[in-house]
Protein backbone atom coordinates (compact mmCIF):
# COMPACT_ATOMS: atom_id res chain seq x y z
CA UNK A 1 0.00 0.00 0.00
CA UNK A 2 1.66 3.18 -1.14
CA UNK A 3 0.45 6.73 -1.16
CA UNK A 4 2.41 9.56 -2.62
CA UNK A 5 2.05 13.08 -3.85
CA UNK A 6 -0.31 14.02 -1.04
CA UNK A 7 -0.40 17.62 0.06
CA UNK A 8 -3.33 19.13 1.85
CA UNK A 9 -4.14 21.38 4.75
CA UNK A 10 -7.07 21.38 7.14
CA UNK A 11 -8.15 24.93 8.00
CA UNK A 12 -9.76 25.81 11.32
CA UNK A 13 -13.49 25.29 11.45
CA UNK A 14 -13.58 22.84 8.59
CA UNK A 15 -14.85 19.39 7.77
CA UNK A 16 -12.88 17.22 5.39
CA UNK A 17 -14.14 13.99 3.90
CA UNK A 18 -11.44 11.57 2.84
CA UNK A 19 -12.71 9.28 0.10
CA UNK A 20 -11.34 6.24 -1.65
CA UNK A 21 -12.14 2.61 -2.32
CA UNK A 22 -11.17 -0.34 -0.17
CA UNK A 23 -7.46 -0.82 0.20
CA UNK A 24 -6.46 2.58 -1.09
CA UNK A 25 -4.78 3.45 2.17
CA UNK A 26 -7.27 5.77 3.85
CA UNK A 27 -6.77 4.19 7.25
CA UNK A 28 -2.98 4.17 6.79
CA UNK A 29 -3.07 7.86 5.96
CA UNK A 30 -5.18 8.72 9.01
CA UNK A 31 -2.97 6.65 11.31
CA UNK A 32 0.09 8.25 9.82
CA UNK A 33 -1.30 11.71 10.55
CA UNK A 34 -1.90 10.68 14.15
CA UNK A 35 1.62 9.38 14.55
CA UNK A 36 0.68 5.71 14.49
CA UNK A 37 2.91 4.51 11.73
CA UNK A 38 5.57 6.44 9.95
CA UNK A 39 5.58 7.98 6.52
CA UNK A 40 8.58 7.08 4.43
CA UNK A 41 8.90 10.69 3.41
CA UNK A 42 7.10 13.91 4.16
CA UNK A 43 6.16 15.99 7.16
CA UNK A 44 3.08 16.80 9.15
CA UNK A 45 2.61 20.30 10.51
CA UNK A 46 0.31 21.40 13.29
CA UNK A 47 -0.23 25.13 13.61
CA UNK A 48 2.85 25.80 11.52
CA UNK A 49 5.17 23.58 13.55
CA UNK A 50 6.33 20.10 12.57
CA UNK A 51 4.47 17.60 14.73
CA UNK A 52 7.70 15.76 15.47
CA UNK A 53 9.00 18.78 17.39
CA UNK A 54 6.38 18.67 20.13
CA UNK A 55 4.38 15.45 19.85
CA UNK A 56 2.90 15.77 23.34
CA UNK A 57 1.22 19.09 22.56
CA UNK A 58 -0.10 17.76 19.26
CA UNK A 59 -1.54 14.72 20.98
CA UNK A 60 -3.21 16.93 23.56
CA UNK A 61 -5.21 18.54 20.78
CA UNK A 62 -5.90 15.41 18.76
CA UNK A 63 -8.66 12.87 19.15
CA UNK A 64 -8.47 9.83 16.90
CA UNK A 65 -11.21 7.23 16.79
CA UNK A 66 -10.38 4.19 14.72
CA UNK A 67 -11.75 0.77 13.94
CA UNK A 68 -11.22 -0.60 17.43
CA UNK A 69 -13.08 1.14 20.25
CA UNK A 70 -10.02 1.03 22.53
CA UNK A 71 -12.06 0.41 25.67
CA UNK A 72 -11.27 -2.05 28.43
CA UNK A 73 -14.02 -4.60 28.82
CA UNK A 74 -13.11 -5.10 32.51
CA UNK A 75 -13.96 -1.49 33.33
CA UNK A 76 -17.32 0.27 33.40
CA UNK A 77 -18.28 2.91 30.86
CA UNK A 78 -17.74 5.70 33.36
CA UNK A 79 -14.35 4.34 34.41
CA UNK A 80 -13.18 3.97 30.82
CA UNK A 81 -14.17 7.53 29.97
CA UNK A 82 -12.72 8.83 33.22
CA UNK A 83 -9.32 7.29 32.55
CA UNK A 84 -9.04 8.94 29.17
CA UNK A 85 -9.59 12.34 30.79
CA UNK A 86 -7.09 11.54 33.50
CA UNK A 87 -4.48 10.50 30.95
CA UNK A 88 -4.80 13.93 29.40
CA UNK A 89 -4.18 15.47 32.78
CA UNK A 90 -7.79 16.63 33.19
CA UNK A 91 -10.06 16.18 36.20
CA UNK A 92 -12.67 13.47 35.82
CA UNK A 93 -16.15 14.79 35.06
CA UNK A 94 -19.51 13.09 35.18
CA UNK A 95 -20.15 11.58 31.75
CA UNK A 96 -23.87 11.23 32.47
CA UNK A 97 -25.14 14.16 30.33
CA UNK A 98 -23.22 12.96 27.28
CA UNK A 99 -24.26 9.35 27.80
CA UNK A 100 -27.83 10.58 28.15
CA UNK A 101 -27.69 12.04 24.64
CA UNK A 102 -26.54 8.68 23.32
CA UNK A 103 -29.12 6.73 25.30
CA UNK A 104 -26.47 5.04 27.42
CA UNK A 105 -27.03 6.80 30.73
CA UNK A 106 -28.50 3.82 32.50
CA UNK A 107 -25.52 1.63 31.52
CA UNK A 108 -22.89 4.03 32.92
CA UNK A 109 -21.87 1.67 35.71
CA UNK A 110 -21.93 -1.44 33.55
CA UNK A 111 -18.81 -3.22 32.29
CA UNK A 112 -18.01 -2.40 28.70
CA UNK A 113 -17.55 -6.11 28.05
CA UNK A 114 -21.27 -6.65 28.57
CA UNK A 115 -22.29 -4.12 25.91
CA UNK A 116 -23.09 -4.80 22.27
CA UNK A 117 -20.68 -3.76 19.53
CA UNK A 118 -22.93 -0.82 18.61
CA UNK A 119 -23.11 0.36 22.20
CA UNK A 120 -19.34 0.15 22.51
CA UNK A 121 -18.97 2.32 19.42
CA UNK A 122 -21.27 4.87 21.06
CA UNK A 123 -19.17 4.89 24.22
CA UNK A 124 -16.18 5.59 22.02
CA UNK A 125 -18.02 8.48 20.36
CA UNK A 126 -18.91 9.93 23.75
CA UNK A 127 -15.24 10.81 24.08
CA UNK A 128 -15.78 13.50 21.44
CA UNK A 129 -17.66 15.60 23.97
CA UNK A 130 -15.72 14.58 27.05
CA UNK A 131 -12.19 15.34 25.93
CA UNK A 132 -11.32 18.81 24.69
CA UNK A 133 -9.49 18.50 21.39
CA UNK A 134 -9.15 20.74 18.36
CA UNK A 135 -8.62 18.09 15.73
CA UNK A 136 -10.84 15.06 15.29
CA UNK A 137 -9.68 12.26 13.06
CA UNK A 138 -12.52 9.78 12.62
CA UNK A 139 -12.10 6.53 10.72
CA UNK A 140 -15.50 5.22 9.61
CA UNK A 141 -17.41 6.69 12.56
CA UNK A 142 -20.76 5.51 11.19
CA UNK A 143 -20.03 1.80 11.49
CA UNK A 144 -22.56 -0.07 13.63
CA UNK A 145 -24.54 3.08 14.51
CA UNK A 146 -28.31 3.35 14.53
CA UNK A 147 -30.20 6.28 12.96
CA UNK A 148 -30.50 8.36 16.11
CA UNK A 149 -26.80 8.08 16.85
CA UNK A 150 -25.98 9.10 13.29
CA UNK A 151 -28.08 12.22 13.71
CA UNK A 152 -26.35 12.87 17.00
CA UNK A 153 -22.91 12.43 15.44
CA UNK A 154 -23.76 14.74 12.53
CA UNK A 155 -25.03 17.44 14.89
CA UNK A 156 -21.98 17.04 17.12
CA UNK A 157 -19.64 17.37 14.15
CA UNK A 158 -21.40 20.48 12.87
CA UNK A 159 -21.32 22.09 16.30
CA UNK A 160 -17.62 21.30 16.63
CA UNK A 161 -16.94 22.93 13.28
CA UNK A 162 -18.86 26.06 14.35
CA UNK A 163 -16.54 26.34 17.34
CA UNK A 164 -13.52 26.29 15.06
CA UNK A 165 -12.74 22.60 15.34
CA UNK A 166 -11.10 20.64 12.56
CA UNK A 167 -12.48 17.29 11.43
CA UNK A 168 -11.01 14.77 9.02
CA UNK A 169 -13.11 11.67 8.49
CA UNK A 170 -13.55 8.71 6.24
CA UNK A 171 -16.87 7.11 5.48
CA UNK A 172 -18.15 4.71 2.88
CA UNK A 173 -21.57 6.25 2.91
CA UNK A 174 -22.05 10.01 2.94
CA UNK A 175 -23.15 11.55 6.22
CA UNK A 176 -26.47 13.00 5.08
CA UNK A 177 -26.81 15.94 7.41
CA UNK A 178 -23.22 17.07 7.02
CA UNK A 179 -21.84 19.01 4.10
CA UNK A 180 -18.06 18.68 4.00
CA UNK A 181 -16.08 21.84 3.21
CA UNK A 182 -13.40 19.82 1.50
CA UNK A 183 -13.17 16.42 -0.15
CA UNK A 184 -9.98 14.50 -0.69
CA UNK A 185 -10.19 11.51 -2.99
CA UNK A 186 -7.54 8.85 -3.15
CA UNK A 187 -7.41 7.08 -6.47
CA UNK A 188 -5.73 3.85 -7.27
CA UNK A 189 -2.64 4.40 -9.33
CA UNK A 190 -3.05 3.47 -12.98
CA UNK A 191 -0.44 0.88 -13.81
Amino acid sequence: MLLHGLDFSLPEGSLTWLQGGNGTGKTSLLRCLCGLGEAEAGDIFWQGEPVARDPVRFHQELLYLGHKPGLKSELSIAENLGFFRRLRGLPVIDPEPVLEQLGLARYAGQYVGSLSAGQQRKVMLARLLLEPARLWILDEPLVALDHESRDWLAATMMAFREEGGIILYTSHQPLDQVRPDQQIAIQEATP
Partner: protein
Protein backbone atom coordinates in the same frame (compact mmCIF):
# COMPACT_ATOMS: atom_id res chain seq x y z
CA UNK B 1 1.11 12.65 36.76
CA UNK B 2 0.34 10.86 33.53
CA UNK B 3 2.43 8.05 34.95
CA UNK B 4 0.17 7.97 38.00
CA UNK B 5 -2.93 7.91 35.80
CA UNK B 6 -1.51 5.05 33.74
CA UNK B 7 -0.65 3.10 36.88
CA UNK B 8 -4.11 3.62 38.35
CA UNK B 9 -5.52 2.24 35.15
CA UNK B 10 -3.32 -0.88 35.28
CA UNK B 11 -4.25 -1.53 38.88
CA UNK B 12 -7.96 -1.00 38.27
CA UNK B 13 -7.92 -3.48 35.39
CA UNK B 14 -5.94 -6.01 37.40
CA UNK B 15 -8.38 -5.60 40.26
CA UNK B 16 -11.16 -6.91 37.99
CA UNK B 17 -9.03 -9.75 36.76
CA UNK B 18 -7.52 -11.28 39.87
CA UNK B 19 -6.87 -14.64 38.25
CA UNK B 20 -4.25 -13.03 36.05
CA UNK B 21 -2.36 -11.93 39.18
CA UNK B 22 -2.69 -15.29 40.90
CA UNK B 23 -1.70 -17.51 37.99
CA UNK B 24 1.99 -16.45 37.83
CA UNK B 25 2.20 -16.88 41.61
CA UNK B 26 0.74 -20.37 41.50
CA UNK B 27 3.07 -21.16 38.61
CA UNK B 28 6.04 -19.95 40.68
CA UNK B 29 5.12 -22.14 43.63
CA UNK B 30 4.26 -25.13 41.48
CA UNK B 31 7.46 -25.13 39.41
CA UNK B 32 9.57 -24.79 42.53
CA UNK B 33 7.79 -27.61 44.31
CA UNK B 34 8.47 -29.94 41.38
CA UNK B 35 12.15 -30.07 42.22
CA UNK B 36 11.94 -32.18 45.38
CA UNK B 37 10.09 -34.76 43.24
CA UNK B 38 12.59 -34.52 40.42
CA UNK B 39 15.78 -34.50 42.49
CA UNK B 40 15.38 -35.68 46.05
CA UNK B 41 13.59 -34.59 49.23
CA UNK B 42 16.95 -34.58 51.01
CA UNK B 43 17.31 -31.25 52.86
CA UNK B 44 20.99 -30.72 52.07
CA UNK B 45 20.60 -31.32 48.38
CA UNK B 46 17.55 -29.07 48.20
CA UNK B 47 19.30 -26.26 50.03
CA UNK B 48 22.09 -26.51 47.49
CA UNK B 49 19.69 -26.25 44.56
CA UNK B 50 17.30 -23.73 46.09
CA UNK B 51 18.92 -20.45 44.94
CA UNK B 52 19.03 -21.52 41.31
CA UNK B 53 15.61 -23.16 41.34
CA UNK B 54 13.83 -20.22 42.93
CA UNK B 55 15.53 -17.71 40.65
CA UNK B 56 14.78 -19.66 37.48
CA UNK B 57 11.16 -20.14 38.55
CA UNK B 58 10.77 -16.42 39.33
CA UNK B 59 12.30 -15.56 35.98
CA UNK B 60 9.94 -17.84 34.08
CA UNK B 61 6.92 -16.60 36.01
CA UNK B 62 7.82 -13.02 35.10
CA UNK B 63 8.35 -13.96 31.48
CA UNK B 64 5.07 -15.83 31.16
CA UNK B 65 3.04 -13.10 32.83
CA UNK B 66 4.24 -10.49 30.32
CA UNK B 67 1.69 -11.47 27.71
CA UNK B 68 -1.30 -10.68 29.88
CA UNK B 69 -0.11 -7.13 30.50
CA UNK B 70 0.39 -6.17 26.88
CA UNK B 71 -1.52 -8.43 24.52
CA UNK B 72 -5.01 -7.50 25.76
CA UNK B 73 -4.37 -3.79 25.39
CA UNK B 74 -2.96 -4.38 21.94
CA UNK B 75 -5.89 -6.45 20.71
CA UNK B 76 -8.73 -4.21 21.93
CA UNK B 77 -7.08 -1.09 20.53
CA UNK B 78 -6.55 0.60 23.88
CA UNK B 79 -2.79 0.50 23.44
CA UNK B 80 -2.96 2.86 20.47
CA UNK B 81 -5.37 5.12 22.33
CA UNK B 82 -2.95 5.20 25.27
CA UNK B 83 -0.12 6.07 22.88
CA UNK B 84 -2.20 8.86 21.40
CA UNK B 85 -3.46 10.38 24.62
CA UNK B 86 -0.10 10.32 26.40
CA UNK B 87 1.97 11.19 23.33
CA UNK B 88 5.04 9.49 24.82
CA UNK B 89 5.68 5.80 24.04
CA UNK B 90 8.58 5.59 26.50
CA UNK B 91 6.40 6.86 29.34
CA UNK B 92 3.74 4.32 28.44
CA UNK B 93 6.32 1.51 28.38
CA UNK B 94 7.66 2.62 31.75
CA UNK B 95 4.18 2.70 33.26
CA UNK B 96 3.44 -0.76 31.89
CA UNK B 97 6.67 -2.12 33.35
CA UNK B 98 6.00 -0.60 36.75
CA UNK B 99 2.46 -1.94 36.70
CA UNK B 100 3.71 -5.36 35.68
CA UNK B 101 6.22 -5.38 38.51
CA UNK B 102 3.76 -4.16 41.15
CA UNK B 103 1.23 -6.80 40.18
CA UNK B 104 3.53 -9.74 39.43
CA UNK B 105 7.12 -9.07 40.51
CA UNK B 106 6.35 -7.82 43.97
CA UNK B 107 3.99 -10.70 44.86
CA UNK B 108 6.70 -13.12 43.69
CA UNK B 109 9.18 -11.50 46.05
CA UNK B 110 6.69 -11.79 48.90
CA UNK B 111 5.99 -15.47 48.24
CA UNK B 112 9.64 -16.43 47.76
CA UNK B 113 10.55 -16.84 51.48
CA UNK B 114 7.86 -19.50 51.78
CA UNK B 115 9.50 -21.40 48.94
CA UNK B 116 12.84 -20.88 50.63
CA UNK B 117 11.41 -22.69 53.65
CA UNK B 118 10.14 -25.54 51.50
CA UNK B 119 13.62 -25.99 50.03
CA UNK B 120 15.40 -25.67 53.40
CA UNK B 121 17.22 -22.48 52.50
CA UNK B 122 19.15 -21.10 55.51
CA UNK B 123 17.86 -17.89 57.08
CA UNK B 124 20.76 -15.69 55.90
CA UNK B 125 20.16 -16.86 52.38
CA UNK B 126 16.45 -16.04 52.72
CA UNK B 127 17.33 -12.40 53.32
CA UNK B 128 19.68 -12.42 50.35
CA UNK B 129 17.00 -14.00 48.21
CA UNK B 130 14.44 -11.32 49.01
CA UNK B 131 16.99 -8.57 48.38
CA UNK B 132 18.26 -9.98 45.09
CA UNK B 133 14.70 -10.58 43.89
CA UNK B 134 13.72 -7.04 44.90
CA UNK B 135 16.46 -5.64 42.67
CA UNK B 136 16.31 -8.29 39.98
CA UNK B 137 12.61 -8.71 39.21
CA UNK B 138 12.08 -5.04 38.21
CA UNK B 139 14.95 -5.44 35.76
CA UNK B 140 13.29 -8.58 34.41
CA UNK B 141 10.01 -6.69 33.92
CA UNK B 142 11.75 -3.80 32.15
CA UNK B 143 13.82 -6.00 29.82
CA UNK B 144 10.89 -8.29 29.14
CA UNK B 145 8.80 -5.33 28.03
CA UNK B 146 11.14 -4.83 25.06
CA UNK B 147 10.64 -8.36 23.79
CA UNK B 148 6.91 -8.26 24.39
CA UNK B 149 6.44 -4.94 22.62
CA UNK B 150 8.45 -6.13 19.63
CA UNK B 151 6.19 -9.15 19.12
CA UNK B 152 2.75 -7.68 19.84
CA UNK B 153 1.38 -8.10 16.34
CA UNK B 154 2.45 -11.74 16.03
CA UNK B 155 0.05 -14.60 16.69
CA UNK B 156 1.06 -17.04 19.41
CA UNK B 157 4.14 -15.04 20.28
CA UNK B 158 4.86 -16.70 23.64
CA UNK B 159 7.78 -18.88 22.58
CA UNK B 160 9.20 -16.15 20.38
CA UNK B 161 9.26 -13.74 23.32
CA UNK B 162 11.14 -16.34 25.33
CA UNK B 163 13.68 -16.77 22.55
CA UNK B 164 14.26 -13.03 22.35
CA UNK B 165 14.35 -12.32 26.05
CA UNK B 166 15.90 -15.29 27.86
CA UNK B 167 19.44 -14.60 26.59
CA UNK B 168 19.09 -11.04 27.92
CA UNK B 169 18.02 -12.39 31.32
CA UNK B 170 21.28 -14.31 31.84
CA UNK B 171 23.19 -11.56 33.70
CA UNK B 172 20.32 -10.99 36.14
CA UNK B 173 20.06 -14.72 36.74
CA UNK B 174 23.81 -15.07 37.31
CA UNK B 175 24.10 -12.26 39.84
CA UNK B 176 20.78 -13.03 41.51
CA UNK B 177 21.29 -16.72 42.17
CA UNK B 178 24.97 -16.38 43.00
CA UNK B 179 24.08 -13.75 45.60
CA UNK B 180 21.77 -16.22 47.32
CA UNK B 181 24.37 -18.97 47.00
CA UNK B 182 27.04 -16.79 48.56
CA UNK B 183 24.74 -15.95 51.46
CA UNK B 184 23.93 -19.61 52.09
CA UNK B 185 27.68 -20.32 52.33
CA UNK B 186 28.05 -17.45 54.78
CA UNK B 187 29.95 -15.28 52.29
CA UNK B 188 29.31 -11.57 51.67
CA UNK B 189 27.01 -10.84 48.75
CA UNK B 190 27.03 -7.05 48.55
CA UNK B 191 28.98 -7.27 45.27
CA UNK B 192 26.15 -9.17 43.64
CA UNK B 193 23.61 -6.71 45.02
CA UNK B 194 25.60 -3.79 43.62
CA UNK B 195 25.79 -5.42 40.19
CA UNK B 196 22.06 -6.17 40.24
CA UNK B 197 21.38 -2.56 41.20
CA UNK B 198 23.55 -1.40 38.31
CA UNK B 199 21.64 -3.60 35.86
CA UNK B 200 18.34 -2.38 37.29
CA UNK B 201 19.28 1.28 36.88
CA UNK B 202 20.59 0.70 33.37
CA UNK B 203 17.38 -1.13 32.46
CA UNK B 204 15.27 1.60 34.03
CA UNK B 205 16.93 4.23 31.87
CA UNK B 206 17.25 2.38 28.57
CA UNK B 207 14.56 -0.30 28.41
CA UNK B 208 11.51 2.02 28.33
CA UNK B 209 13.04 3.90 25.40
CA UNK B 210 13.60 0.68 23.45
CA UNK B 211 10.22 -0.74 24.46
CA UNK B 212 8.50 2.54 23.55
CA UNK B 213 10.11 2.44 20.14
CA UNK B 214 8.99 -1.15 19.79
CA UNK B 215 5.44 -0.15 20.74
CA UNK B 216 5.38 2.44 17.97
CA UNK B 217 6.61 -0.13 15.47
CA UNK B 218 4.09 -2.74 16.56
CA UNK B 219 1.13 -0.38 16.38
CA UNK B 220 2.06 1.01 12.96
Amino acid sequence: MRLAALLRREIAIAGRNKAAILIPLVFFVLVTSLFPFAVSPDADQLALLAPGVIWVAALLATLLSLEHFYQGDYLDGSLEQLLLTTGSPALLALAKSIGHWLLTGLPLVLVAPMLGLLLHLPLDAQVAMVLTLLLGTPALCLIGAIGMCLTLGINRNGILVSLLILPLYIPVLIFGSSGVQAASLGLPYDGQLALLAAIFILALVLAPVAAGHALKISTS
